[in-house]
Symmetry: C2
Subunit: 115 residues, 2 copies
Amino acid sequence: MAVDQLDVVFGALADPTRRAILTRLTHGEATVAELVAPFEVSQPAISRHLKVLERAGLISRTRRATARLSHLEAEPLRQATVWLAGYREYWEESYERLDELLAAMQDDETGRNTS
Amino acid sequence: MAVDQLDVVFGALADPTRRAILTRLTHGEATVAELVAPFEVSQPAISRHLKVLERAGLISRTRRATARLSHLEAEPLRQATVWLAGYREYWEESYERLDELLAAMQDDETGRNTS
DNA sequence: ACTTTCTAGAACAGAAAGGTTATAGAGTCG
DNA sequence: CGACTCTATAACCTTTCTGTTCTAGAAAGT
C-alpha cells in the first residue's frame, strides 16, 4: 500500500486539485481523460496527481479498453481520521457539533464536501 | 485564522516533525527550546515549523518571560476531520471499527497518537 | 544600563513539488 | 497488421520546502 502512510496521505490531501479528484471519484470511477476535463491543467499533470494519490493508497486503478479507471480507496482517509481523532479531547466543545455534522451527513447526500 | 484552511492544514500535517510537535503540545504548552530538544534539527528549523503550524491555525503563541509558549489549537484539526468525514460512506465497513476506536480512546489516555 | 537568555530573521544550498510540451508506449479495433 | 486512442514518461523550468549557519532583536534579571 502506501509508503509512509500519514506523510504521504496528508501530503496528497494538501493539494486542492487532488482533493477535487477524490471528490469527483466519490461519484464513481473515472478515466484520466474524464478527470482532466474539469481542470485547467494538462493531462500529464493529472496523470502525476493520480500517481501521487495511488502512492498514498487513496486510489486504485483498473483498465477498460485503452483507458485506465481510477477508483477511490478510502482506507487511508480512515487512517488519517483516526490520527486526527487522537486530538478529539482538545476540541471537546466542538466535538458535539462534529457529531451532529456526522449524523446529518449520514442521511444527507448533499452534505458531501466539494473541495 | 488560517489562510486557505485545508491546503495549509493538510500541508502542515504532512511533515512528521510538525505532527510530533503537535503531539508534544497535547502534553501542554512548550517553549521553543523545549520543542527543539527532542529533535535533531536546529532551533531556527523548529521556529519555522512553528510558523507553519501557526499559519495553519494549529497553534497559538503567548509569552512567558523571554520565552514564547506554543499552545495547541485543534479547531483546524476538527475541520480537517469534518472534510474527511465526507468520505465516511466509502469505508462503511471499517467505519464501525473507527467508532470502536473512538470510543476506546475516549476512556483511554494512552490511546493518543505518538507520531 | 548591561548582560544574559531565548527566539526570529537573513542568506544560502539542495531537494522536491507542480506545471508545461513533446514523445513514447500500451492496448483496441477495423 | 495498421491506425487510432488513451495514458505515461522524459526533459525542462520555476517555485516552494526544509535545513544550515550566522546574526539581530526582544525581554528579564542583576
